[in-house]
């Protein structure tokens, strides 16, 4: 599975793991990981990119959709363990001003 998610025991932390290509093909799987959570639920999300090989601009768009769904500026989303290539894509788009990059 290219996109999987794990929920912590108290339900307050959700980790989304992405492997392989992060692009439009995994749109539905990615959306399902956060869709039932609302801005009021106080859930922290971590997107683990350590196994992702590539991301394109539609994936950036998917991250924006997620951020919006979880309350925009109040959304709590961390993007972690990105490869150099993926970090570079995130940096060029200045996504560090919208997401926590770990």
């Amino acid at each position: 599975m290219p996109v999987t998610s794990t929920v912590s025991a108290d339900g307050k932390d959700i980790t989304i793991n992405i492997s392989g290509r992060f692009d439009f093909a995994v749109q539905n799987e990615f959306r399902n990981c956060y869709h039932s959570t609302g801005p009021e639920d106080g859930v922290s999300f971590t997107i683990d990119m350590s196994k992702a090989s590539y991301m394109d601009s539609s994936a950036l768009g998917m991250l924006l959709m997620m951020r919006e769904h979880l309350g925009g500026n109040s959304a709590n989303i961390t993007i972690s363990s990105s490869s150099d290539d993926i970090s570079n894509i995130l940096t060029v788009a200045n996504f560090q001003s919208l997401f926590k990059i770990a």
């Binding site: 601009s57 996504f95 919208l98």
Partner: protein, 571 residues
């Protein structure tokens, strides 16, 4: 199916058989027509176009197989079922009936239930067939209409998007869209004060959706550039508009640049595109690399949006490169990307500037070696050639001419404007002022000249009067950058002072006479010494007043040098 009366053709040379079948069929509610041999069957079919045919095999003239072949050929793409009537079901005649186009068999003696079932089954197929045929025809029609609309939209799009001034000898570019409509946008427009604005943008995705987003971008870009707005103001406006119209997951990664031939500076706003590169003609190496420093456009709203720009100096023959990430993401057959390292290496080989663009294209195409293009690829090179860029400015289209607006006959009027420090900090009043004058009097064909006059008078008042900047800084290109950085810093903290602009207009033999007085609350300057070097061309500095003198009939310094009066005649 029995609601609509169906017509069945019975072809049999045996009259008893015909009557028997006719009786059964009529009882079931069908209309019946008949034929006594194969040839008659074909003739009756052609004339009456029945919905179904019952066909005996052995008949005089034409046998059942031959008649069926002809009937099938005549029906074209309408499905007319043919049921063969056989005495015995031997394999050989079955094969021949199928080859002739038969759809089913009915063995003697005829049984009503059997006959009805066969006919119902075939009629269902016929109905399905006709639905499919109808849908196929609609689909073909729809496709043709869609294609026509796409072609029309493409032409329209091309007219709106690519009417800029890209076709200059000093601009080279590659735009290779993946589909009919590109997700990449590349526009260039001359500034009224000389020099050029360029935007290269890359929408999320490609195709029609991305192209639609390009329309407001192009109208804002062309409109505001022609009115004299800066790229910081233009990029803010584009962001606001895109934020309103684009869905959350769509945005525009873009780089806007302002190439100024008066100050020899390059001003850059880069949000989401690979670094802009300046290749210095003298050093044969990269002299500037300006990476993305902002979020792409259309993501955040006005308050948090950053319009901060980078200003760098630029010299004759330098080349500016901007590309969309499709260039770096060009893939070879192994699925490997071209990448930053290969791209950067192109600029580190000490190549002659004029060979660089073609070399980049060549390397990209060698690398790709026929594998499929994945993304829109756009690459732009602009050679900083002062004379060319200045020449461009002289050919700005006068939009007023096309508006069909009635311009008032030259008349007497006046306008006084007082600009306070608070206002000057946040607003460049020139575009608004010029627009007001154009609306008031319709100075057809004069926008650029007027812009230059006001811009020189205003910068003089602001930069020397209120901000107390020393123009001797501008003696060389690096000083220019310093000068404009200081301008920005001092303007940001400006707390007192005013600029008063007084405009009087008088009709004058077929045109008018515009007297513009600009006064600032600064200390003024020693008029005599400042005017002294103007007889020589100083290059970077002093050009402003020279320019004013060349356009205006009179330029007079008054007071302690803090008031300038210029008289501009037009017809």
């Amino acid at each position: 199916m029995s609601e609509n009366t169906l017509t069945v053709l019975v072809a049999d040379d045996d009259v008893t058989n015909r009557l028997l079948l006719e009786a059964i069929l009529r009882k079931e509610g069908y209309d019946v027509i008949h034929a006594e041999d194969g040839r008659e069957a074909v003739e009756v079919f052609e004339r009456e176009r029945p919905d179904l045919v019952l066909m005996d095999i052995r008949m005089p003239e034409l046998d059942g197989y031959q008649a069926t072949e002809l009937i099938k050929a005549m029906s074209g793409d309408v499905f007319v079922p043919v049921i063969f009537l056989t005495a015995n079901s031997d394999i050989d005649s079955m094969v021949k009936s199928v080859e002739a186009g038969g759809d089913d068999f009915l063995a003697k003696p005829y049984n009503r239930i059997q006959l009805q079932t066969r006919i119902n089954a075939l009629m269902r197929i016929r109905e399905l067939y006709s639905t499919v045929r109808q849908q196929r025809n609609e689909l073909i029609l729809h496709q043709k209409r869609l294609e026509r609309e796409r072609q029309m939209a493409k032409r329209l799009f091309a007219n709106i998007i690519h009417t800029g001034s890209l076709d200059q000898p000093n601009i080279k570019y590659l735009l290779s869209p993946m589909s009919l409509f590109s997700g990449d946008i590349l526009l260039a427009a001359p500034k009224p004060s000389g020099g050029v604005h360029v935007i290269l943008g890359d929408f999320t995705g490609h195709g029609l959706a991305a192209a639609t987003g390009a329309l407001p971008v192009s109208s804002i870009f062309y409109g505001m550039t022609a009115k004299g707005y800066s790229i910081a103001e233009i990029v803010t406006e584009i962001n606001t508009r895109l934020k309103t119209i684009l869905p959350v997951d769509m945005f525009l990664a873009a780089c806007l640049i302002d190439i100024d031939t008066t100050t020899h500076t390059l001003t850059v706003w880069n949000g989401g595109l690979p670094p802009l590169v300046v290749y210095a003609a003298r050093q044969l190496a990269i002299s500037q690399r300006i990476p993305s420093q902002h979020l792409p456009l259309g993501i955040i709203d006005g308050e948090s949006f950053s319009r901060r720009v980078e200003v760098v100096g630029i010299q004759q023959g330098d080349r500016i490169y901007i590309c969309s990430d499709g260039v770096l993401e060009t893939q070879n057959r192994q699925g490997e990307m071209f990448g930053r390292d290969r791209f950067n290496a192109l600029f580190e080989a000490g190549l002659a500037p004029q060979a660089l663009f073609d070399t980049i294209l060549e390397r990209l195409s060698d690398f790709q070696a026929g594998s499929l293009q994945q993304d829109d690829v756009t690459l732009l090179e602009i050679c900083y050639d002062q004379s060319l860029l200045e020449q461009r400015a002289g050919t700005i289209e006068e939009e007023e001419g096309g508006r069909g607006r009635l311009s008032a006959a030259p008349s007497s009027w006046g306008l006084t404007l007082t600009l306070t420090a608070d206002l000057l900090k946040v607003l460049d009043p020139l575009p608004l002022l010029i627009q007001t004058l154009m609306d008031l009097q319709g100075f057809r064909g004069q926008r650029q000249q007027l812009y230059t006059v006001f811009s020189e008078l205003y910068s003089n008042a602001l930069e020397h009067g209120l901000l107390k900047l020393d123009s001797s800084l501008k003696a060389n290109a690096s000083g220019f950058v310093e000068y404009y950085q200081a301008r920005e810093q001092r303007l940001a903290v400006l707390s007192e002072g005013e600029i008063r602009i007084d405009i009087r207009h008088q009709p004058d033999a077929g045109g008018g006479r515009l007297t513009i007085t600009v006064e600032d609350t600064g200390d003024g300057f020693d008029v005599d010494s400042a005017l002294l070097p103007l007889t020589e061309n100083l290059g970077h500095a002093g050009r402003g007043i020279q320019l004013l003198r060349s356009i205006c009939d009179e330029v007079i310094f008054q007071g302690c040098g803090n008031r300038v009066q210029a008289v501009y005649r037009w017809r």
